[in-house]
């Protein structure tokens, strides 16, 4: 009978091996998918146990902090936002039941301390409570406040970018929300028809109007087929895409240079320029500027929208689709852009044709003050040659000096820019735009301002706002 007993033991060994195999499966091989299972509340509950790091503005202002309550094993942390509505969209929120948005989402690993796994492992061994790292952002409270004030309650958006680094100093979307109210009012805010939760700066799709002519001019100059002095017929009612196109006020300009055509925002000139470049080449330049893809930014993917020509059912049209490129070139057709995209266009020209990836984060700092990580800036593309960029800067300076953008001019600081006014609601109201940068010779700030459903134009509504924002941002850096 001893042989059978041995066999029996062999069977037990096999059965126990099966148990170890299944345990390995749950603990190691399928652990990740179990953690991601929507019925699994553990990851969220666990994050409540760890104080998230602070989010700070570049001057140190605390934008988000964690308040603890309860003692010992029962201690839990909850997020609060001392600046209220000021940075609602950029910072976002993080709450147990409602998930996360904004930087709170995109930098979650750093804020929870999950990014440095070796360290948290050591912490665990030493019995230290894990802590999240602090995040220092590029956001500038003074500029942000000035921007919101300048918008004066009008719905719209403002984005300001440091051209050399791509760092986002200002990101405004009005109406905003108070992240502290998210736990109690989420449903209400989500249902609000003014869409306060929606980040107009990165998700809003607006017709860009004449600000698009900056992209067209960049393509024209960089292609080598045009110079600022190239003369094109600026008559109104030119046939573009088979249909006559009018200038603003149906004005005939006759043969004029590209510089003059930008200063006076002559539609027919830029329509012709784009047609001569052709759809393929024009699309190529749009893509160099970052159109047609989500911006490479440290922000949640689901809160970023690509800019481009939108066809039926929200499909982005490409160069093989029937697209009237002459009208795309002046910001018409079905072209829709985000304020972030247009700020990037201005910043790219300002940075001598080099487009930087937009960045909200600047540094990750451990609780004890050690620098954990410097958020790396990166060039996304060299959009145009330095020469072409410098020519375009001069042309844009003319716009502010004597063209449609004079209201953006600052005292003592030369500003370059471009206005835009797109008709919406069948011509009943306008989408007003201004994009630009300053100072002209050594641009330190690029900005895009857009105002929804206004009766005014880009030059009268958006340009003065841009002026105030640039003033606030530049004055802080003097001395």
């Amino acid at each position: 009978m001893n042989r059978q007993v041995k066999h029996l033991f062999g069977l037990v060994v096999v059965l126990f091996a099966l148990l170890v195999a299944f345990t390995s499966n749950w603990t190691v091989f399928t652990a990740q998918s179990l953690e991601d299972n929507s019925a699994n509340r553990r990851p969220l509950l666990e994050q409540q146990l760890v104080p998230r790091g602070l989010i700070r503005a570049r001057d140190g202002t605390v934008l988000a902090e964690s308040d603890g309550s309860g003692r010992g094993e029962r201690r839990r942390y909850k997020r609060s936002y001392p600046q209220g509505t000021l940075f609602s969209h950029a910072v976002g929120y993080s709450f147990l039941e409602l998930g996360r948005a904004g930087i709170e989402q995109s930098r979650n690993d750093e804020l929870t301390g999950a990014a440095d796994s070796v360290e948290s492992f050591i912490d665990e061994l030493l019995g230290r409570t894990a802590e999240g790292d602090d995040l220092l952002t590029a956001l500038d409270p003074k500029g942000q406040r000035a921007a919101i004030q300048a918008l004066g309650g009008q719905r719209g958006s403002i984005v300001a970018i440091e051209p050399e680094t791509g760092r986002i100093r200002v990101m405004v979307s009005v109406p905003a929300f108070d992240p502290n109210e998210i736990p109690d009012r989420f449903r209400e805010l989500n249902a609000d028809e003014d869409s306060p939760l929606f980040n107009r700066a990165t998700q809003g799709r607006y017709p860009p109007g004449s600000t698009m002519k900056v992209v067209t001019a960049a393509a024209a100059l960089d292609s080598g087929r045009f110079t600022p002095g190239s003369v094109v017929d600026g008559a109104s009612n030119k046939r573009i895409g088979g249909v006559p196109l009018q200038n603003f006020g149906n004005q005939d300009y006759g043969p004029i240079s590209l510089t003059e055509a930008l200063t006076n925002s002559v539609n027919t000139v830029w329509g012709q320029v784009a047609q001569r470049l052709g759809k393929e080449e024009y699309y190529d330049y749009m893509e160099r500027f970052g159109f047609n893809v989500e911006p490479p930014m440290d922000y949640p993917q689901n809160q970023l929208t690509p800019s481009g020509v939108y066809g039926p059912r929200g499909r982005l049209l490409d160069e093989d689709d029937p697209v009237d490129i002459g009208r795309v070139a002046i910001g018409q057709e079905r072209l829709q852009v985000t304020p972030l995209q247009m700020a990037t266009v201005a910043a790219t020209v300002a940075n001598e044709g080099s487009r930087m990836e937009p960045r909200l984060g600047e540094r990750v700092v451990a609780r004890d003050g050690r620098l954990e990580e410097r958020v790396r800036t990166a060039e996304a593309a060299q959009v145009m040659s330095r020469d072409a960029a410098n020519q375009l800067k001069a042309m844009m300076a003319q716009v502010v000096k004597e063209g449609s953008g004079t209201q953006a001019a600052l005292e003592g600081v030369p500003v370059a820019g471009k206005t835009g006014t797109a008709e919406v609601d069948g011509g009943a109201s306008n989408q007003a735009w201004f994009i630009g940068f300053a100072p002209l010779d050594d641009p330190r700030m690029a900005v895009a301002v857009t105002v929804e459903r206004t009766s005014g134009q880009g030059g009268t509504v958006a340009a003065p706002i841009a002026k105030k924002v640039l003033q606030a941002l530049l004055s802080g850096r003097r001395g």
């Binding site: 059965l15 099966l18 170890v20 749950w26 190691v28 509340r41 309860g70």
Partner: protein, 436 residues
């Protein structure tokens, strides 16, 4: 070194485990009120005292018994005590109390059962008692239903799981019965299918099926029938019997899985516990079990460190002290710790089998093999249920799960194994060639 000294030294790792475990849990709670209450530490010391007493008792009464069985059982019990302490102080205190009673029962068994043949003499009485025990939970008034299965009886404040003792009774009966009839069962090259020979076996199959219907628990039915098949194989060496028996059991189980709603439900949940319809309801236990294990990973969160209690005071892992105790262990000690626990069980099983091999042919060999087999199957049924190898059922993890009946029954099981081992080894030591 003599067997008893090895046994004593075997208790050293047990004391280390108890000390380390209690310290770890206490340190994790250092911020709360527990620190001001170091009395809880005495449970550990008390437990070690019990172990030492057990050792001395074996030294006096069963001097030649296997030296590893007792320390292994103590190790498992220590594990259980620490886990219960981690869950709630009260559980640890009650568990420690049960250990004392269990130890008393252990000593009583060894004192009064000097000759195992007594068990043989009363085998039909024992079998009847076992069946009565199993059916008690269906008796109105004292029976208690949990999750659709009838596994417990309630007498006032005391809850009692009769299946734990019934398993001992069934093994004793089968070992005795098969010890007598095995020659008849295997006689001839082509055994004729006669009712006289196979009748009792068919009765046992029928009993397992009735059990399945009556107590509606796949786990305990599997445990009983598995033990039966194991004994049948050891006694007759006929795989064909085992295959036929196994096929009959699975046939029956499958039939009931389709017809009895409760059993059917268990199967559906087993196949897809994450289905939206069940994951917050019937599938909640197994889903939470798997989430807890995933949270444990390779090394676990550390003793007392896993997420267990919600701010509301709710407990995230249901039945953590009984059915899902293995999931909590994986959560806190990881794959490595859980494998260690399984290895401890496997070593216990190995020593039990060893005792069976050393024992003389017949009843005592079958008894040791049967008890060990039932013990191993019980571990497999509950750990397999928690890890979704098989449908989850309400069987306890021996020596670790919270619960008096389980502890008492397993102490008796341990006593029986030690008695078999003591006799066998004494006989072997007396014969030339000695102990292998």
């Amino acid at each position: 070194m003599s067997a008893r000294w090895r046994e004593l030294f075997g208790l050293i790792p047990v004391s280390l485990l108890v000390t380390a475990g209690f310290t770890s849990v206490l340190l994790t709670r250092s911020s709360s009120a527990d620190l001001e209450n170091p009395v809880t530490l005495t449970y550990g010391a008390f437990f070690l005292g019990c172990c030492l007493f057990g050792h001395l008792f074996i030294r006096a009464r069963l001097p030649d018994a296997d030296p590893y069985l007792f320390p292994l059982a103590a190790l498992l019990a220590a594990f259980g005590l620490v886990v219960q302490y981690r869950i709630a102080e009260d559980f640890a205190r009650e568990q420690a109390t049960w250990f004392v009673i269990g130890l008393a029962l252990f000593c009583a068994t060894i004192l009064f059962l000097r000759d195992l043949r007594v068990l043989e003499r009363y085998r039909y009485t024992i079998a009847a008692a076992g069946i009565v025990l199993l059916l008690l939970p269906r008796v109105p008034g004292i029976g208690a239903q949990a999750n659709g299965a009838y596994l417990a009886i309630k007498l006032g404040p005391i809850q009692f799981q009769p299946a734990e003792f019934a398993k001992l009774a069934v093994v004793v009966f089968l070992a005795s019965y098969l010890g007598d009839t095995r020659d008849v069962l295997v006689q001839g090259r082509f055994p004729r299918l006669s009712l006289r020979r196979f009748g009792p076996l068919i009765v046992i199959w029928g009993a397992a099926m009735v059990l399945l219907v009556f107590i509606r628990d796949l786990g305990s039915s599997l445990m009983f029938f598995g033990g039966f098949l194991a004994l049948l194989y050891v006694a007759t060496a006929r795989l064909s019997f085992v295959a036929a028996g196994g096929a009959m059991f699975f046939g029956g189980a499958l039939f009931f899985a389709r017809t009895v709603t409760h059993v059917q439900e268990r199967f559906t949940i087993w196949l897809d516990p994450f289905d939206r319809k069940v994951v917050e309801d019937e599938g909640y236990q197994i889903a939470q079990s798997l989430f807890a294990q995933a949270d444990g990973g390779l090394f676990g969160q550390g003793f007392g460190r896993a997420l267990f209690e919600l701010p509301t005071g709710q407990i995230i892992l249901p039945a953590a002290h009984t059915d899902l105790v293995y999931a909590l262990i994986v959560n806190e000690l990881g794959l490595f710790g859980a494998t260690g626990l399984l290895v401890a069980y496997l070593l216990f099983v190995a020593r039990g089998m060893k005792a069976a091999m050393l024992a003389g042919e017949g009843f005592s060999k079958l008894l040791a093999a049967g008890l060990t087999a039932v013990f191993a199957i019980q571990v497999f049924v509950i750990v397999g249920g928690v890890t979704r190898v098989i449908p989850l059922t309400g069987v306890t993890l021996p020596f670790v799960s919270y619960g008096g009946s389980s502890i008492l029954a397993n102490f008796v099981l341990l006593a029986l194994l030690l008695i078999v081992s003591d006799h066998a080894r004494r006989d072997r030591l007396a014969t030339p060639g000695g102990l292998v």
